[in-house]
């Protein structure tokens, strides 16, 4: 890599990580959006621009530089954060401009196309930093209430990027009035950009439907749904379907714009170029999807030392019932739910539910298996690794080869098991002795299978 490009990359990493650390209010998604953009930008030949192809009649509205401010309460501490963020950004901007200046000086001997590309990249970077600056600066204004037309900073951002002639479409807009277009998936791919008949609404807000109603909730409930679940305990009147239903939204009179996101990983089903493209709904989904599917799993469960996760929330969910519900199949696959195990057994010939052998203490078996699997996993990984900065963001290991695998975890898992020496399933007598001999390797069980009269 060109040292300057590297510098450039570093700036990106910095900027994204700093914005990450900012802990901006959840409805202020511009940063998040921005991060993902950055993430994707590097192996995209056209840079990180978002194209918003707008209808002509919307154009005006789009470029309308209306300031949006979603902060409900003015928090001086947040403001301080914002300010330091601005400061950092300005430094970055300065660095970038320096680079540009230096390049201009050197550029005499270089080929035109490369120059153009690099300039495009630079411009994109500049644009995004400026957008960040503007939006953060806007959020500093303490008294500005949410405007009637809540066109968020994103829309501005898009407006700007549009002007900079970006081609990439990592964010796909879709208006919910144009459902007929949705019906044809192939159409959708040709339909990146948005038909903006209305102001863009912040999607993060909409999908989680928590923040906007936060004011009505007593302290302790982030989401309205949680409150409703809690209220059931206070009496039967809170258990009626009406009481449990989602509260009606008043703002629904306005038509809502549905945004769809694409995963930057080419070949992924969530990538817009895939034949059966399945768009992601929120930017958070993009993040989690990317981590889960294309990143190394760095969080290991401390209890079983087997399961690994790339999203910390997944680890926490797993830890809640790790070791408790271990449903095993004779093929060695474990399930957290019994019905999943039975579905598996119904599907495959010769697989039987495994009965844990009391005396099997062997934890050696599973650990071996895991190592083998891990090895397979790494060796299968491609050498080309595109999303370095994301990994840095995660602060993960040193070996770049292990970062990504074209396979997701499940498939590599199956590969691993196929190598595991084992009698064929069809001969259930021998697979049976395999079970009884104690060579099978379940983690030490605790009561689940021994419980008599254990009615499910």
């Amino acid at each position: 890599m060109d040292p300057e490009e590297r510098l450039c990359a570093d700036t990106w990493t910095k900027s994204s990580s700093s914005s990450e650390s900012l802990k901006t209010p959840p409805n202020n998604t511009s940063f998040n959006d921005f991060n993902t953009q950055q993430t994707f930008s590097f192996n995209n030949p056209f840079g990180a621009q978002i194209s918003v192809t707008s209808n002509a009649n919307n154009q005006k509205q789009m470029s309308d530089p209306q300031e949006s401010n979603n902060t409900q309460d003015w928090d001086p501490r947040a403001m301080l954060n914002d300010l330091s963020f601005l400061e950092k950004k300005i430094h970055q901007l300065q660095d970038l401009v320096h680079v540009i200046v230096r390049r201009r000086a050197q550029s005499a001997g270089q080929a035109d196309e490369i120059l153009v590309q690099q300039q495009q990249l630079m411009t994109a970077d500049l644009t995004s930093i400026i957008v960040q600056l503007i939006s953060t600066a806007g959020s500093l204004l303490p008294s500005v209430k949410q405007t009637i037309c809540p066109e968020s900073s994103i829309s501005q951002q898009f407006g700007v990027t549009n002007q900079t002639a970006g081609v990439s479409d990592n964010v796909v807009f879709q208006h919910n009035n144009s459902v007929n277009k949705l019906e044809d998936p192939s159409d959708m791919t040709g339909f990146f950009g948005a038909e903006q008949n209305c102001p863009i609404e912040d999607h993060e807000m909409k999908s989680d439907d928590d923040a906007d109603e936060g004011e009505n909730l007593p302290p302790g409930f982030k989401r309205d749904a949680n409150l409703r679940m809690h209220m059931r305990g206070h009496g039967d009147e809170y258990k009626t379907p009406a009481a449990l239903a989602k509260p009606h939204k008043e703002s629904s009179s306005e038509p809502i714009l549905i945004k769809r996101y694409s995963c930057p990983y080419i070949g992924c089903k969530r990538n817009k170029d895939h034949k059966k493209f399945q768009p992601l709904k929120t930017i958070l989904c993009v993040k989690n999807h990317y981590k889960r599917t294309h990143c190394d799993k760095t969080y290991t469960c401390s209890r079983c030392n087997t399961k690994k996760f790339s999203v910390i929330a997944d680890l926490k969910t797993h830890e809640k019932h790790c070791g408790r519900d271990k449903w095993l199949c004779s093929c060695g696959t474990t399930f957290s739910r019994k019905d999943k195990l039975f579905g598996h057994i119904a599907l495959f010939q010769g697989h039987t539910p495994a009965i844990p052998v009391e005396e099997s203490k062997g934890s050696a078996g599973p650990s071996n298996k895991v190592e083998q699997l891990e090895f397979k996993y790494k060796s299968d990984a491609p050498s080309g690794c595109s999303c370095r900065n994301v990994m840095d963001l995660e602060g993960s290991g040193e070996d770049p080869i292990s970062y990504f695998s074209p396979l997701n975890f499940e498939t590599s898992c199956i590969d691993g098991f196929q190598e595991f020496p084992r009698p064929p399933f069809e001969d259930s007598e021998s697979s049976f002795s395999f079970l009884l001999s104690g060579s099978c390797d379940y983690p030490p069980k605790n009561g689940r299978y021994t419980g008599s009269n254990d009615m499910e």
Binding site: D339, F342, A346, P353, S428, E429, S452
Partner: protein, 664 residues
């Protein structure tokens, strides 16, 4: 073998018989299990032939398994229900000797074995087709996994295996693909998932018993996809309700018998989904379920093959019965036992339409009168079985109609009714009668019963419980007229004496004698029974005060098939009890209020009687017996039931019935 084989002469004529002929002779020696024993003692060759002939074995003691299995090498069916103690070692012996010959094994009454023994058995006996593991409450999923190794298994009974869960059943479903008959009754650990997997994997299933399982309609939809399912029992499945049942699409085209008794959450709404079974369903049991009204009856009217319906214990309305009467099918069997709300009008509308009725049960329909009986006898002339215990509003004259019009009756239960001698005389015209229950019929006397004895030559079973008016002459007539008598109950018939017993001793097939509260019976009468009725397996001489040890000694000597005896309130002492202990197949013994019984005598008898499974004792003995004895007997598989009832004086029958009425 107690006796030495008789030394043979150099030549025996029997040796001329070919083995095939002897086999055919042996095929007919089925009545008394001891017959074959005698046969094999005739000669060395007979002994050898008998050893080769025997396919079925029901050993009394597991200790001798090695010996008997060495002798009988061609045993394919092994019934271990007399051996309460079967350990893994015993199963090892069986699997080592029987190997591929064994096709069926019954372990339903045995304990003390584990999954290790079972897996040994299944590994060695690859041709096992049938396993009965009922009541193995201790067995866990590992045992089920062992069973799953029996690939040729077709019949499996796991009733009351409460510790087996979905996981174990899942193993069986995967392993035993040829299963045709499966009973999971009371397997409380098995739910939708396990049963669903059975339906997915075992496509050959013909009969499935899912009584009292915590299942819902979820697995039902899978079960009813089975193409060969004929018999389905869903008794007491509370998880099955209307909503889910109504949503079911039942694809089964083979189901003939469906038992949904005690499914309390199912009403006519859910039952209407049974219409899709219309082409095949023949027998339906909805006992102890929802109210039988017009809607329910109408929901079933499209079942065109239906011929048997059981509605026991349901609330029944008149319009419901009328709607049943309007079904286009012709019912052959209807049971309304203990139904509330059965009236003359309703019942008449049913029986007048369904003229082909063969079996009718109207037990405890207390509102019906002679009108109903007149209609029944008038239209259902081909009745084979009529059960009408405690139809107290039916007058005595009505019973005459039964004999006049229903000549084909084989089974008649008129317990606790107003029937009198005229009725009995009329009933004696039913020459096919084999079972007659006349308990608590206070209006009958010898006159009527003598007619029965003279005419009903095929009588096998007669119940005269508390029919106080009868004397020895009735029993004499029955004993002479009905040589095939197998069961008689003369409890609390005070006038019965030894004469009756001596005459009954000619009924060589008699296997059950209940003579409670007959104070005139003595040991000599009992001795006659013991000598004459070799097949006796159940004897109740409670409150026969004049029976003492002298009656027990011949019993011990001759009644080698006796399994169950009640000696409470009799005059038997330690000696009698000890002699009884020599009966090798004695399993159950009830000894309350035996004045002559001492703790040491009891201990000796209990130790000597190796086959005991159940002992009912007075609670006062609990502290008098050594704790080690309990441990020992427990290890043998014997359980104790303690009763603390005080001595009760006997009431006269009329007074007893009044008391009974008061209690209701």
């Amino acid at each position: 073998m107690k006796k030495q084989l008789v030394p043979e002469s150099s030549f025996s004529r029997f040796d001329l018989l070919s083995e095939e002929i002897v086999f055919i002779i042996l095929d007919f020696l089925n009545e008394n299990p001891l017959d074959k024993k005698s046969f094999s003692r005739v000669s060395r060759s007979f002994y050898a032939i008998e050893s080769r002939h025997r396919k079925f074995l029901k050993p009394l003691r597991s200790e001798h398994l090695t010996k008997i299995l060495n002798r009988y090498r061609y045993v394919s069916t092994l019934d271990l229900s007399m051996c309460p103690r079967i350990t893994d070692a015993s199963l090892g012996v069986i699997s080592g000797r029987c190997k591929e010959m064994l096709r069926s094994i019954n372990l339903s009454r045995s304990k003390f074995f584990s999954h290790v023994g079972l897996s040994n058995l299944v590994m060695n006996c690859g041709n096992l087709v049938e396993i009965d593991l009922s009541n193995a409450t201790e067995l866990k999923d590992s045992a089920a996994a062992a069973i799953a190794g029996a690939k040729n298994l077709e019949r499996l009974c796991l009733a009351r295996c409460k510790s087996i869960t979905d996981i174990g059943i899942g193993c069986i479903a995967v392993g035993c693909r040829k299963l045709r008959f499966l009973s999971l009754k009371w397997c409380l650990g098995v739910g939708d998932l396990g049963v669903g997997l059975i339906a997915v994997k075992c496509k050959e299933i013909r009969s499935l018993d899912l009584s009292y399982l915590p299942i819902t309609s979820k697995c039902l939809s899978q079960i009813l996809q089975l193409q060969h399912l004929e018999d389905l029992v869903l008794e007491g499945c509370f998880g099955i309700d209307d909503d889910s049942l109504a949503a079911l699409k039942l694809g089964c085209k083979s189901l003939e018998t469906l038992d949904m008794s005690s499914c309390q959450n199912v009403s006519h709404v859910g039952l209407s989904s049974l219409n899709s079974l219309a082409g095949c369903l023949q027998q339906l049991n909805l006992s102890y379920g929802s109210r039988v009204d017009r809607a329910l009856a109408d929901s079933l009217r499209n079942l065109s093959m239906l011929h048997s319906v059981k509605l026991d214990g349901c609330q029944v309305t008149c319009s419901g019965l009328k709607a049943i009467g309007n079904w286009c099918v012709s019912l052959k069997e209807l049971s309304l036992s203990k139904c509330m709300g059965v009236t003359d009008e309703g019942l008449s509308s049913v029986v007048t339409k369904h003229k082909d009725m063969k079996k009718l049960d109207i037990t405890c329909c207390r509102k019906i009168t002679h009108l109903s009986l007149a209609n029944i006898t008038n239209s259902c002339t081909s009745l084979v079985s009529l059960k009408m215990e405690s139809c107290t509003s039916v007058s005595a004259e009505a019973f005459v109609l039964i004999g006049q019009r229903c000549q084909f009756l084989e089974e008649l239960d008129v317990t606790d009714n107003e029937i009198d001698d005229d009725g009995l005389i009329s009933i004696s015209m039913c020459a096919q009668l084999s079972s007659l229950k006349l308990g608590i019929c206070l209006n009958i006397t010898d006159e009527g019963l003598i007619h029965i004895g003279k005419c009903c030559l095929k009588l096998k079973e007669i119940d005269l419980y508390r029919s106080a008016g009868i004397t020895d002459s009735s029993i004499l007539a029955i004993a002479c007229g009905c040589p095939g008598l197998e069961m008689i109950n003369i409890a609390y018939c005070e006038f019965i004496s030894d004469r009756s017993l001596k005459s009954l001793s000619k009924c060589s097939k008699l296997n059950t004698l209940e003579s409670r509260g007959c104070p005139l019976i003595t040991s000599s009468g009992l001795a006659a029974i013991a000598v004459g009725c070799k097949q006796l397996f159940k004897l109740d001489i409670k409150k026969c005060r004049n029976v003492d040890d002298a009656g027990m000694i011949p019993l011990a000597h001759f009644s080698q098939n006796l399994k169950q005896i009640n000696l409470s309130y009799s005059s038997v002492t330690d000696v009698g009890l000890l002699s009884l202990a020599s009966i090798s197949c004695l399993q159950s013994i009830t000894i309350l209020h035996l004045e002559g019984l001492t703790p040491s005598g009891l201990v000796a008898a209990l130790l000597a009687c190796g086959g005991l499974i159940k002992v009912k004792l007075h609670a006062s003995f609990k502290s008098l017996l050594p704790p080690l004895l309990f441990e020992h007997l427990d290890a043998r598989g014997c359980t104790f039931q303690w009763r603390a009832k005080t001595f009760q004086a006997e009431l006269d029958p009329k007074c007893w019935k009044l008391q009974l009425a008061d209690a209701e």
